[in-house]
């Protein structure tokens, strides 16, 4: 092809670009640009109509200026005019400008859409492609609304040119990604799937991207693509390198298409049809075999293309996780790459092996490469590769090699890049705890960790070592000895002083027999560090000192002297001063017995927290907001997430007082008891005043539910749950308190609190009538498999509920493992002789067992990445059914029980949350991302957790909340 004539006749543009390039300074450039902008503005505003060429030239200049990074606030209209030019070159520039610079100016969008519509119907393939490119580049909702119906038609029409089909497929993909609700494939599904059979390889290449995206969202509708994809793949894999002509890339037949086919298959489980599966396994074997053949070219493009297919095939093998033979072959192949001279291949092999390590079939095979990986950690020159090696070591670690891996990681830590130290520290701490057989090794490891990388040891890590030492008496003496030795170092990290202070304060007596570590020696050692430490550490040391006074009366005089010194007792820091004063006083007036009681050894910590999520901070408290009756259904949703302060505990303990008149609904608490006038404003009282006497006759008969249950026919079996019970359940996903149910007779209020995997729920049954309920009986049942997932215990209630009175029932819930269904609450009672039988779903949902987890952005993304297997993710895209107010959203997300993480998502509009679901069987870490699109009034919700059922359930629950 001849060299292009520069600028295509737009000489003015070339001159302008040269001018800019010749500018010596930023100021000169800005000056030149302002001059040009003024010139263009005057041309556009001038009386003389501009010809198409000039318009094109100026629009192109504006585009150039914009791409330099300057703002452009005019010229859009001229660009739109260019769209309807019949000169291709002008149209093309117009479209380019629009693609790069479109903003959602509604007036313009209408004009642009008009121009696009004309070009789409022009039957000129070049124009059609331009228009499709523009839609794909902009991808806005307005465009989806205008064209999502038309493009599938173009895509499958028999007379559409191949090039247009290709553009149409990808255009549709972009629209689907932006506005999935507007792209309805329905009737086109099967014809789109059959594009996989198209003769034109380009059409298949474009269409498969669309099909993969649609399949991943609607696997069932598109499942016929599996066999088509397998046969297409098989044809490519078995073809000679020259068969596919221009689709052969450096002797590799159709590498892009092959990768995409393998990727598409990863949306599905292994094919059920034996023949299809056999063919696929054959393909995968061929791909693995080809990796062993000598290369057909020395060019890196050849090996990249070939290996791209190989890695994608290995991903598929790992995804299936069912063919031990293939998994082990994949592992061996990756093992070869670990020592390849190409850095890229080493990187990818380490990354890919990380996922292989978690498969039971290949875990052992991965472990055989430990020496190579350790070597990589030591010798790789690129930090990103070393990072992969560290990840892989972490993934392949088990009881058999933990000591070796932890030792290697520790020694690497001494020279590790600052960017990955904190992560390495966490990993070492987690592995050391997880695989500790003897706890002295664990203590050594953590103390080493502090010694080597003290700055990167977060509080959680040193808290954890203290918890473990306190809970395990077999290691206490060893810990005291080791930490004492570590403190001997002339310079030791402050974290070491903290651990030392705490442990010696508790267990210093265990080593006090040795004269080298006599009480006074211990104290002097600790106190020699005191002046170098920050205030919180000094405070901790002061507490250690008073503990010493209790442990070793012989140190009392020395320590009292220290406490009495001006630098302590008159310290400018209030906390330190107060401790010094109080401890001094305590030591001088309290008797030995009192002192021994006050300063008793710390009790064991209640329960092991997950070490992986050692960053757990806040305990989840129950919502503690009074429920307003009137708003229970609307605004009340916010209450659960509102205040989680300390008052919560008080409110909860008040409510748990087993008094029959206890009323969580503060508004009417006094009404029935103290006989406030009926106009007091509470709903319950209003019901009395309005429908009081007639409630028994006319008023109640209006209630369909009553008339449908006449006494004689009434069944004693629990009624099926009310149709609205799911809706009622959804109202309580993000809140713990409120009115669960209300009809003309009965109101049921709920107050609940959850800690770890336990929950307690108070149900308040209020009789709204003036007549007593007799044979009042409630039962809670767990249908089906829920029985093995939840342990629910109830206390029976009094069988008589007086008119206007309220009874309370306490339900204890233990979550054994994750669950989907809700327990059923059945209430039966007789009212005026008629049996009432109501079943509701009890609002116990899996998210109630969330504990919020705070984490920094880096941790979040790392964990997010670790949970990247398709089944670990659940995603929903849905329309907003309430307003999209930020505060409301935040309150709901908090109400869900997760921690709302600030400054994590790069897009401030989005929300990310993290939490751990506590069940008896396991703890499930869960990450969440909610992306609101205010313009489209849509949300995208993504859940990732280590358990597929949890991701799905939380996603389902939460999707109903917005």
């Amino acid at each position: 092809m001849p060299a292009v004539s520069k600028g295509d006749g737009m000489r003015g543009l070339a001159v302008f670009i040269s001018d800019i390039r010749n500018c010596k300074s930023k100021e000169a450039e800005i000056k030149r640009i302002n001059k040009e902008l003024a010139n263009i503005r005057s041309k556009f505003k001038g009386d003389k109509a501009l010809d198409g060429y000039s318009k094109k030239k100026y629009v192109c200049k504006l585009l150039f200026i914009f791409l330099l990074g300057h703002d452009i606030d005019f010229g859009h209209m001229e660009a739109v005019n260019l769209l309807s030019s019949n000169k291709y070159t002008e149209k093309q520039i117009g479209y380019l400008f629009i693609s790069v610079l479109v903003n959602s100016n509604s007036e313009l969008i209408r004009l642009i859409n008009n121009a696009i519509k004309n070009d789409l119907s022009s039957r000129n393939p070049t124009f059609m492609c331009l228009a499709l490119h523009c839609i794909a580049n902009v991808g806005s909702r307005e465009m989806a609304e205008a064209f999502a119906g038309e493009i599938p038609r173009i895509l499958v029409a028999g007379d559409t040119m191949d090039s247009v089909k290709q553009s149409a497929a990808l255009c549709l993909l972009r629209l689907y990604k932006a506005s999935p609700d507007l792209v309805l494939m329905g009737e086109w599904t099967s014809r789109v799937v059959h594009l996989l059979n198209d003769q034109h390889m380009g059409v298949v290449t474009a269409a498969i991207s669309l099909i993969t995206c649609l399949s991943s969202k609607n696997p069932d509708e598109f499942k016929t693509c599996v066999s088509l994809a397998v046969s297409r793949l098989s044809r490519i894999v078995s073809s000679a390198s020259t068969d596919l002509q221009d689709y052969t890339y450096y002797f590799v037949p159709a590498p892009w298409l092959s990768c995409k086919l393998l990727r598409l298959l990863q949306c599905y489980p292994p094919p059920e049809d034996g023949a299809v599966k056999g063919r696929l396994v054959e393909c995968l074997e061929t791909i693995l075999n080809k990796a062993q053949e000598p290369p057909k070219s020395k060019k890196v493009q050849h090996s990249n293309a070939k290996n791209a297919i190989l890695f994608e095939a290995i991903s598929l093998i790992i995804h299936y996780d069912s063919e031990p033979n293939l998994l082990v072959r994949a592992c061996n192949q990756l093992g070869q790459f670990l020592q390849h001279r190409e850095t890229n291949l080493r990187y990818l092999a380490l990354e890919s092996m990380c996922t292989l390590a978690s498969s039971e079939f290949s875990h052992e095979a991965v472990k055989t490469h430990i020496e190579t990986v350790i070597n990589a950690l030591k010798t790789e020159r690129d930090v990103s590769v070393r990072q992969r090696a560290a990840d892989l070591l972490y993934a392949m670690c088990d009881r058999s090699n933990a000591k070796q891996i932890v030792a290697e990681m520790l020694s690497y830590l001494e020279t590790a890049d600052y960017s990955i130290r904190e992560e390495m520290v966490l990993k070492v701490a987690i592995l050391a705890e997880k695989y500790a057989v003897d706890y002295s090794w664990y203590v050594d490891t953590i103390l080493n960790l502090i010694r080597i990388a003290g700055d990167y040891v977060s509080e959680e890590v040193w808290y954890r070592v203290i918890q473990i030492v306190i809970n395990r008496d077999d290691v206490q003496g060893y810990a005291a000895k080791t930490v004492f030795e570590a403190l001997q170092a002339p310079a030791c990290h402050e974290n070491m002083v903290k651990v030392g202070g705490y442990i010696l304060g508790e267990f210093g007596n265990l080593i006090a027999g040795d004269p080298r570590s006599s009480p006074l020696v211990q104290f002097n050692l600790l106190h020699s560090k005191f002046h170098l430490c920050s205030v919180p550490t000094r405070a901790l040391l002061l507490s250690a000192y008073i503990k010493f006074i209790n442990l070793f009366p012989e140190t009392k005089a020395t320590i009292q002297e220290v406490l009495r010194s001006d630098s302590q007792i008159r310290n400018s820091d209030v906390e330190l001063q107060q401790r010094a004063v109080e401890y001094l006083k305590l030591s001088s007036i309290a008797s030995t017995d009192v002192l021994a009681t006050v300063l008793e050894e710390m009790p064991p910590f209640p329960e092991r927290e997950s070490s992986i999520l050692a960053k757990l901070k806040k305990k989840k408290g129950p919502g503690a907001v009074t429920v307003e009756l009137e708003d229970g259904k609307e605004r009340g949703e916010l209450n659960g997430g509102g205040d989680r302060g300390g008052d919560a505990a008080i409110a909860a303990s008040n409510a748990s007082t087993p008094s029959p008149s206890a009323d969580l609904l503060g508004l009417r608490s006094t009404a029935p008891v103290s006989g406030t006038t009926p106009s007091a404003g509470s709903l319950l009282v209003d019901v009395f005043s309005e429908a009081g006497p007639s409630a028994t006759s006319a008023g109640v008969n209006d209630d369909g539910f009553l008339s449908s249950a006449p006494p004689t026919v009434a069944s004693e079996d629990p009624a099926p749950p009310l149709p609205e019970s799911d809706e009622l359940l959804n109202k309580f996903v993000c809140k713990n308190n409120g009115v669960l149910f209300e009809n003309q007779l009965l109101q049921i209020g709920i107050k609940s609190e959850y800690r770890q995997n336990l929950g307690r729920m108070y149900l308040f049954y209020g009789n709204k009538t003036s007549v007593q309920f007799v044979s009042f009986n409630t039962t809670v049942s767990c249908p089906g498999e829920l029985q093995s997932q939840l342990n629910v215990q109830t206390k029976t209630v009094e069988p008589l509920v007086e008119g206007g009175a309220q009874v309370q029932q306490v339900i204890n819930i233990e979550c054994l493992t994750d669950f989907i269904d809700a327990p059923l609450l059945n209430i039966k009672f007789r009212y005026g002789g008629a049996l009432q039988n109501i079943s509701l779903k009890l609002p116990v949902t899996i998210n109630k067992f969330f504990q919020p987890t705070e984490m920094a952005a880096a941790d979040f993304f790392q964990r997010w990445k670790q949970l990247s297997q398709p089944q670990q993710e659940a995603q929903k895209i849905f329309k907003a059914s309430h307003g999209m107010d930020t505060e409301v959203l935040k309150a709901k997300l908090l109400g869900l029980g997760t921690a709302l993480l600030e400054n994590v998502d790069p897009n401030p509009e989005n929300y990310v949350c993290a939490g751990v679901i506590q069940t008896k069987a396991q703890q499930v870490g869960c990450l969440l991302r909610l992306e609101p699109n205010a313009q489209a009034q849509m949300y995208r919700l993504t859940l990732r957790s280590s358990k597929d059922t949890v991701s799905q359930r939380v996603c389902d629950l939460l999707a109903e909340q917005f």
Binding site: A3, R21, A136, G202, S209, W256, N344, D382, K865, S868
Partner: protein, 156 residues
């Protein structure tokens, strides 16, 4: 693919193509960060890096860096070859392409990219087919050009 950036060794942005909706401010921030990160890397380092929750694949050709951000499940090696194929297309079109060609004919660089990648996915991987599409457009362009020329003659 989420976006593609071309920038020079001096950090000057030469081409930017975004396949996800982002505000101008975000685009500038991302560009700044990424250009810095990539330029700081040494020649023999690997071509992939983790960046935010994306993977970045980059390669240097003479004075220009080609840099793509892809999603987690995307294939790094094939993305490297996407870059290479684009370079080949530019090279064939401009006749041993250099940075200046892309500066002065930036619109052409965008047109070629649109023919090759659309919405972040390969539209056609055949070099012939992509170039054919561009050639056809150029033919249309040239006949228009002669139109303008003849018009200006008639005005004289």
């Amino acid at each position: 693919m989420q976006f593609m950036l071309l920038f020079s060794r001096q950090g000057k942005l030469r081409l930017q193509k975004w396949y996800v909706p982002l505000s101008d401010k975000e685009k500038k921030k991302i560009t700044r960060e990424l250009v810095q990160t990539v330029l700081a890397r040494k020649p023999k380092m690997c071509s992939f890096l983790e960046w935010r929750d994306l993977k970045v694949v980059y390669k240097r050709y003479a004075s220009l860096y080609f840099c793509c951000a892809i999603e987690n499940q995307d294939n790094e090696l094939i993305t490297l070859e996407i870059i290479h194929r684009y370079v080949e297309l530019l090279d064939k079109y401009f006749g041993s392409v250099c940075e200046l060609d892309i500066i002065f004919n930036f619109e052409k660089a965008y047109f070629i990219l649109d023919e090759f990648l659309l919405g972040g996915e390969a539209q056609d991987t055949s070099k012939k087919n992509v170039l054919k599409a561009i050639e056809q457009a150029d033919l249309l362009q040239e006949c228009c050009m002669t139109d303008t020329v003849s018009q200006s003659f008639s005005m004289v």
